[in-house]
Symmetry: D2
Subunit: 346 residues, 4 copies
């Protein structure tokens, strides 16, 4: 048996950190060498995530411990704005970096500033960063040293939009993405808008016209298709823990039929390990806990509109799972290694 | 004090029946004279709805009892397809009829058959029926003998779409309604798709391209505006009890600004007792239990799209509350009498 | 028509404040004269509670405004430890005081210190304070100048325990109260343990052996029955907004039968306006939004145990509703005035 | 590598069936040879459980197919009353049987009839059946040909009660079990009491004094301890999918301390692979999807009561997971093989 891949996780206290551990401790080729959490340094991982008691008992260490390990891959599970500093410090190291924040997903520091409302302090990083959506950029990811792991909403939307744009069969200025997400998308810090009685038995929209994932979706499909499109994205908050469902509405520019649409997507995703083209409208629970993206597409002749419905687990295919998928590609492993998780339903 | 209005409710076992009672027992001008429920005849209302114990203790009687009372108004709280027979039997009586089913909301028996997949057995009823959305058809409702109470989704969508269509400022062939509803919209009969573990912590779309409320929305806004529009409507099922949130996307055909949009809606709804034009994106809980429709509108310059977000309680403004609002109009009462309910939040 | 009762509410931002308003604006004999909220002074009530838009539009003022009004009753909707200072300042005023905090519910400052872990700064208040559970202390409440409104858990438990203790038919040292509460019981401040993903689809116990309501239950049933009992109380956190269900287990010391048990409770509560003795196990939703306490009792011959199941809405009969019930008694009104609310179910 | 264990699953449509598959397809030593489902014969497993698409694609066959396979173990995932007929037919076959129904958990056909209200048609089966709770009956399970897999509530309660009874330190006639369960415990058939709006944001007790698991708990702890105890068991229905939390109240008959209590349980469960003795009150989510039983114990000196709080996933340690644990023991595998699942939280 070959040597295990040594992995470091920077940032252990959030949902992304605990999901990375949940996946990686069953990954046959991986050894979690070190986990840092400056705010809980000295405690143990199970103190923060008691569900791991008896399963994974690592200490939480300070960032300085990273240098004491011979690491192959480092995952940055940190907030936007914080991650960039670590990328700056580590980009010339031997280990590969997978950044789960939004800091290197966009095209430039100026676009970043416009949508994230803060200055970027490491513009050089943008050149190295590869957008880590394997279904679109597999070849580049395999060679990447720094992967910017996609946002959760963008993952669900881009998988639906990109093939249609690339084939040039839809109106570039009529791309409506109506998304609904579970609350873990907002992180594990308690806030007024995630207080249980505020969310429970309730539903609302938020971030209308201004959500940062708008530009991420738009830039990526443009880069992939070579077109200049304009994306409208509206997120809504579901009273559920996990899961994103995105409903997209597009206008065909060429004659469209149900069959053409179906063939088009089969050509793109027919052999993908994690995209399931489904003929029934999917629900978020049928991918819960897994790296699957389930995608339903249909054409409404009456209104001449293409409708797509895609679902992912925002913490897995929308974050930690996709990060591991990227790691597998970067390290030359089988793409689905450690990711053959069965959905937990109900 | 003037004589009370004598009300009969046909169909007491469903959510609509219990909501009518919840509202009417506090209505100053109304006396509930009789409640029928053939399937539970001989039992008492509290046997079916135990929450009313000590509050409202009426017997459930057979339909034949209707004739023994001198009624002013009869509410039909019956399933689609069942209601039409009662309208047929009762249309020449002295009492006014408010039908909460979908049997007389559409324009003709043939349209009904296309979307409801069953024959209509009382085509004459269509001529008498007035669509009971007071904000659009108040004058006609006041004189109506038969009101077809609107569907829940249509109420939330039409209020947003109608003014824009009427003013001719949006593309008639680009009307996208993405709606999300609570489970009570499916009625109180247990079915596989409303089984708790199926719905809880889950979310899905349904009825894509085929939901009956599509044609109801389209026909009503066309009738109101005199235009031939084409509506795309996609419902989704929320893991909540009550409430509908509809997000609509429209393309302006004339120069649009945030201010113009705001003025347009203020002109239509500024004096409405139950439409609240809100400047924060609304949530369904802020109207729970009440007859309010909260409506938020905005214009996205970047994508040149009008976005509206409207919320109602599907059982109140989407059913029983609007029925009482219609009754108030038909009987010459103050439109909000008995409907000044405060939302229960949280 | 007689002059309205002028009411002041001190503390408008919490759930108790908004529930007081929800109830009082429909109370026929009450005028809300002033609402204070030092932390949101200068804003309006609807800014904090947007569901009231178009219904109740009062300014939020500072505490100094209290003196500018000729008030009959003041409700203190403040945190424990804060309320006592206001009682100290206002106890010699003409208006009556209903304190919804826990500051004057116990027997003495020393007991308070033991269970609340803080010093009490107004021990004189304990002499004036009457425990505001009308079903047990109606006569005293009518004459009270200061009412200590009961805690939510105690309300649900004491109603079940007190008659059995008073009649001397159960073992005083075997009083087990297993309670389950909705999240609003924890207030409207976002905390880690009320973060949506922590509570949703989850369930846990908390405060085992140490919850403050233990001593409140024990002292009140002792004071009422003249016995020295010992209460074991265990609260649990439900993933619901509102409602408490308490299951009590007691051992009879005399021969017990289902019929004797039933008669005993009928004697105590048969004429109570807000206690419903039910013959089916109640659910929390059947009292939601109302001042009802539904109580089910049964005797298990096999294990010789009395089991009671009681449900209330923690924000209404467990807080604001009971406060209004107390106000009605203190002001000589009909006890149920303004409180004939129908449960909202589902 | 040794030959795989050939497994048959009889009854594929319920939650137990899908959980068995979820666990077994990752079990290194197991091959699922055949799955039957008479009601869905001819369809595929993914038609009933679409979450398995792309993961496990077996046909659903009729019961007659069982005979065509050389099976080592058969799991009966069938309703109570149905299972006994299959045990009767199969008990003399070579394969081992794990029955997940309640048909062979009790001591005799007459006890079965008293609590299940139906006749038992295979009384001979009771002699062969071993109660499949490994923590108590490991040695017997290893040699068993027929295992009666424990009920979900009993698993959570017996683990807490049995050591205390066995050691003779608690009053045998004072065993109070207050349990709260998720809705999957009621199966996947839609019923009125599991309709989403009935359960959501609600909570109630049920089956008071009569629930079948009462006698299962009582008989098992009696058999294990050699005592004649009397158990009071009250189940409640939580608005969650999965999980049981049982709070038990017991009276010590000997001097008790926190330390003695802790030592007692450590002696019993200190080396158990699936019992985690926790020092913080557990929540159901921290075992979700796994075979863990988390157990918290404490002694309340004030009321001289032992309190235990135990949590399990009712579908895993309370059903399919424990069945696999039993299979591992019966087949001489490592007890935790295929069961090292990490909880999915949130």
């Amino acid at each position: 048996m070959s040597k295990k891949i040594n992995v470091g996780i920077i940032g252990a206290t959030g949902y992304t950190g605990s999901e990375l551990v949940r996946i990686l401790i069953h990954h046959p080729s991986v050894e979690i060498a070190v986990i840092t959490a400056d705010s809980r340094k000295g405690e143990r991982f199970v103190d923060v995530h008691p569900q791991f008691r008896g399963i994974f008992d690592a200490p939480l260490v300070g960032i300085e411990e990273i240098d004491k390990h011979d690491l192959d891959v480092v995952f940055l599970a940190l907030p936007h704005g914080v991650s960039m500093g670590f990328v700056k410090d580590y980009l010339d190291r031997d280990f590969k970096i997978i950044d789960l924040s939004g800091d290197f997903r966009l095209s430039s520091p100026s676009v970043y500033k416009t949508w994230y409302k803060k200055d970027h302090n490491f513009s050089e990083g943008f050149e190295s960063a590869v957008f880590g959506l394997p279904e679109l950029f597999r070849a580049r990811i395999k060679k990447a040293h720094l992967v910017a792991n996609p946002g959760c909403f963008p993952t669900s939307a881009i998988l639906a939009l990109a093939p249609l744009l690339k084939e040039g069969v839809v109106d570039k200025n009529h791309l409506i993405v109506d998304s609904k997400t579970g609350v873990t998308g907002a992180g594990n810090k308690a806030k007024t808008n995630t207080h249980f009685p505020v969310v429970n038995d309730n539903f609302t929209a938020y971030g209308i016209k201004t959500h940062r994932h708008t530009i991420e979706i738009q830039e990526v499909i443009n880069s992939y298709s070579g077109e200049e499109s304009s994306v409208l994205f509206t997120p809504h908050l579901l009273p559920v823990d996990r899961g994103i469902l995105s409903t997209c509405y597009l206008k065909p520019t060429k004659e469209m039929t149900e069959q053409k649409l179906s063939m088009l997507f089969k050509n793109y995703y027919g052999n993908e390990p994690f995209v399931r083209l489904v003929d029934q409208v999917p629900s978020i629970k049928q991918v819960r806990g897994t790296n699957f993206a389930d995608l339903f597409t249909t054409y409404d002749e009456r209104t001449q509109t293409i409708i797509t419905v895609s679902v992912i687990d925002n913490l897995v295919k929308g974050a930690a799972g996709q990060a591991v998928q990227n790691m597998n590609l970067m390290m030359g492993l089988s793409e689905d290694e450690g990711l053959t998780i069965v959905p937990i339903q109900p």
